[in-house]
C-alpha cells in the first residue's frame, strides 16, 4: 500500500496524463469484451462464461493474421471474422442446447470450452508467452502532453474502440435490425409470434459478441503479451463491468469499462496488490445498493 505515491501522482499533470491514457485503453478493450457479454445476456438471457476465451482466440488469430499479411488492420478484421464464425458455431451446436436448462448447465458447457480452447491454443501456438510487437505502421515516437507520455498506438486503439461503439450504437438504436434485436430482448415470445426468427436473432447476437471480443483481442495484441489462459482475467473484469453498468445495458458497459480502466491504472500506483479487491468491492456495493447496475433497467422477473 502506498497512498502517498498515488497522491503525488494525482497532483502532477504528467502522471495524470500517462495514467489516464493507460486507463482509457484498458477501458476501451474491456468495453469491447463486456459489450458482447452484456448484449448476449440482454437478448438471450444467458451468460457466456467462455467470453474471455473468445478474446484470447482473437488475440492469437490477430497474431497469425499479422504475421501472414503484415497488415494490422487486416489482422484485426481476420480476428473479428474468425472469432465471430467460431461463436456462431459454438452457439448453434452447444449453447442452444442448454438455453432452457439452468444456469449451472450453461456454466458447465462454457467451462468445458474454456478448458478445451486453452489447450487448443497451447497445441497450435505453444504454451509459452508470445507477443506481436508494435506493428511497423505505429512505430512512431510517443506524444508528449503536459509532460505525460501517450504512445501513438494508444490513440489508435481508443479511436478504434470509439468507432466500433458508435457503429454499435447506431445499429442498435437507429436501424430496423436494432429494433428487432431490442424487441427480442424485451419479449422473445411476442417477437417470435410476430413472425420473426428468434433463433436467427440469437445466433446473430452471439456472433456479434464474438466479433467484438475477437477484435478486442487483436487490438490488445500489440500492447499485451499472450498466453493460454489469458481469457480468465478479462472474463472476470468483464463480469465486474457488466454488473456495475447494469446487466444487459450497452451504455452501462461503456461507463463501467472506463471506470474500471481508470481504477486499475491509478490504483496500481497506490495499492498494486489490492486493485482487484477494490474492483470487487465496487461490484459488491453496486449489487447490494442497486442490483440492476448504474444504467440498467430493473431486473427481469
Amino acid at each position: 500500500m502506498n497512498p502517498t505515491e498515488l497522491f503525488e501522482c494525482v497532483t502532477s499533470l504528467s502522471c495524470i496524463v500517462t495514467q489516464t491514457s493507460t486507463g482509457l485503453i484498458v477501458g476501451a478493450l474491456l468495453f469491447l469484451v463486456a459489450t458482447g457479454l452484456t448484449l448476449i445476456f440482454g437478448v438471450l438471457g444467458v451468460i457466456n462464461f467462455a467470453h474471455g476465451s473468445l478474446y484470447m482466440l482473437g488475440a492469437y488469430l490477430g497474431l497469425t493474421g499479422y504475421r501472414m499479411t503484415g497488415s494490422f488492420l487486416l489482422a484485426t478484421l481476420i480476428a473479428g471474422a474468425g472469432v465471430g464464425l467460431f461463436a456462431l458455431l459454438f452457439e448453434r451446436f452447444f449453447m442452444r442446447r442448454v438455453y432452457n436448462a439452468d444456469v449451472l448447465m450453461q456454466l458447465l458447457v462454457c467451462y468445458a470450452f474454456i478448458l478445451i480452447l486453452d489447450d487448443a491454443v497451447k497445441l497450435i501456438w505453444g504454451a509459452e508467452f508470445q507477443s506481436m510487437g508494435m506493428p511497423d505502421a505505429f512505430q512512431a515516437p510517443p506524444l508528449f502532453v503536459g509532460g505525460g507520455i501517450i504512445p501513438l498506438f494508444y490513440l489508435v486503439l481508443i479511436a478504434a474502440a470509439a468507432v466500433i461503439a458508435l457503429v454499435l450504437w447506431y445499429v442498435l438504436t437507429k436501424t430496423r435490425t436494432g429494433k428487432i434485436v431490442r424487441a427480442a430482448a424485451h419479449n422473445p415470445t411476442m417477437t417470435s409470434a410476430l413472425g420473426l426468427n428468434t433463433n436467427l436473432i440469437y445466433a446473430g447476437v452471439f456472433a456479434c459478441g464474438g466479433v467484438l471480443a475477437g477484435m478486442a483481442g487483436a487490438l490488445a495484441a500489440p500492447v499485451r503479451s499472450m498466453s493460454p489462459g489469458m481469457g480468465f482475467s478479462i472474463l472476470i473484469e468483464s463480469f465486474i463491468v457488466t454488473v456495475i453498468g447494469g446487466m444487459g445495458s450497452v451504455s452501462g458497459a461503456l461507463v463501467g469499462a472506463l471506470l474500471i480502466g481508470l481504477v486499475r491504472s491509478f490504483g496500481s500506483i497506490g495499492f498494486p496488490s489490492f486493485v482487484e479487491g477494490i474492483m470487487f468491492l465496487a461490484m459488491a456495493l453496486i449489487l447490494v445498493l442497486k442490483p440492476s447496475g448504474l444504467m440498467g433497467r430493473e431486473p427481469r422477473v
Binding site: M105, Y111, P299
Partner: protein, 323 residues
C-alpha cells in the same frame, strides 16, 4: 418405515463405510491411496456443503471457496500463532467461517438468481485479495509458510500418516452424517420448500430470508471443516484455496456427481480427483480431456452420474410394474 429407523439405517451404513476405510491401511501400504482418501474427505465435505446451497436451497453460490480458504487460513493461523490444539483450532475455523457466513450471507441471500451468484463471487474474490495483500498475516501469494504443527492431542499423533488418514476419515464421515441429519430434519424440508416455491413458503408463515441464511451459515461452517482438513494435509494454506477456480471445481464436482442425491457430490469429488490424477499422468493436454468429459456430462447425460443412475433404476422398476 418412519424417519428414525431410516436414519438409524444410514448411520449403520456410514459406520460400515468408515470401518472399510479404516481397514485400507492394513491392506495396502500405498501412500497414494491414503492421500487420495484424505483429499477426498476434504473435497467431499466441501462439495456436499456447497450442495446444501445449490441442490437443496437453489442458491447457486459462485464464491463458496471463501469458506474453504477462510477455514484453511483460520485453522493454520490458530495453530501457528495461537498454538492451540488441533480440535480447538478446527472448532475456531468452523466458528470463523460461520460468522463470516452470517455477515456475508445476510447481505447475499436477499438477491435472486444470477445476482446472488455474482455477489458471492465478488465477496470471495474480495477475501482472496485481502489474503494476497495482507502479507504480514497471511504471507501473501506465498501462502502460510513454515508448516502447520501437529501437536499430540488425547494421545492422537497426527504426524503419522496413518493416524492423519484415520482422523480425516472419521471427520469426513461424521461431517457427512451431520449434514445428512440436518437435511433430513424439518429444517432440511423447509429449505427444499423454499427452493421449490418461496412464495408458498412465505404464505405458510416461513421466514424465507432466515431459512436461506441458516443454510448459508451451515454450508460455510462445513466448508471450514473441509478447509481445515486440507490445511492439515498440505501443512499450509494458499490463496488458491479462496480463488474462484476452487468454487468452480466444487460446482463441477456437484454437477458431475449429481445434485439430487445426497452422496452425489462426494462421488463427483472422487471422480474428479481420480480423473485429475490419471490424466496428468498420461497427457499434457489435461484441459482438453477434462473439457470433453464435461461436455459429455452436460450435453449427453444432462445430469450428474448419481442422478442418472437413480432415474435409470426408477425407469427399470416402472417397466417391471407395468409391463
Amino acid at each position: 418405515m418412519n424417519r428414525s429407523t431410516t436414519f438409524a439405517k444410514e448411520i449403520l451404513w456410514a459406520l460400515l463405510v468408515l470401518a472399510a476405510l479404516l481397514a485400507i491401511p492394513y491392506l495396502t501400504a500405498s501412500r497414494v491411496a491414503l492421500d487420495f482418501v484424505i483429499r477426498l474427505a476434504a473435497f467431499g465435505i466441501f462439495a456436499t456443503s456447497l450442495n446444501i446451497l445449490i441442490g437443496y436451497g437453489g442458491l447457486v453460490s459462485f464464491g463458496h471457496a471463501m469458506f474453504f480458504g477462510g477455514g484453511a487460513y483460520a485453522f493454520g493461523l490458530l495453530m501457528q500463532k495461537a498454538g492451540t490444539s488441533i480440535p480447538v483450532a478446527m472448532l475456531g475455523a468452523v466458528l470463523f467461517c460461520a460468522l463470516l457466513g452470517l455477515v456475508i450471507g445476510a447481505i447475499c441471500v436477499r438477491l435472486k438468481e444470477i445476482y446472488f451468484s455474482f455477489l458471492t463471487l465478488a465477496f470471495a474474490m474480495l477475501l482472496h485479495s485481502v489474503i494476497l495483500s495482507w502479507i504480514s498475516l497471511t504471507g501473501g501469494d506465498q501462502g502460510l509458510m513454515g508448516g502447520i504443527p501437529r501437536p499430540v492431542f488425547f494421545g492422537i499423533d497426527l504426524s503419522k500418516t496413518t493416524t492423519l488418514y484415520g482422523f480425516a476419515c472419521v471427520v469426513g464421515v461424521l461431517s457427512l452424517l451431520l449434514m445428512r441429519a440436518l437435511l433430513q430434519s424439518p429444517f432440511g424440508y423447509t429449505l427444499r420448500m423454499v427452493r421449490d416455491n418461496a412464495e408458498r413458503a412465505r404464505f405458510l408463515g416461513i421466514n424465507v430470508w432466515r431459512i436461506k441464511l441458516y443454510a448459508f451459515i451451515i454450508a460455510a461452517g462445513f466448508a471450514g471443516i473441509a478447509g481445515s482438513i486440507m490445511a492439515l494435509f498440505v501443512s499450509g494454506a494458499y490463496p488458491e484455496f479462496a480463488y474462484w477456480t476452487m468454487s468452480g471445481e466444487a460446482i463441477f464436482m456437484i454437477m458431475m456427481g449429481g445434485l439430487h442425491v445426497f452422496i452425489g457430490p462426494v462421488i463427483g469429488a472422487a471422480l474428479l480427483l481420480l480423473f485429475n490424477d490419471m490424466v496428468t499422468r498420461f497427457t499434457e493436454l489435461h484441459g482438453l480431456a477434462l473439457g470433453v468429459i464435461v461436455l459429455i456430462f452436460a450435453l449427453g447425460f444432462k445430469r450428474g452420474i448419481s442422478d442418472f443412475l437413480v432415474q435409470f433404476i426408477r425407469s427399470l422398476k416402472k417397466k417391471r410394474v407395468t409391463p
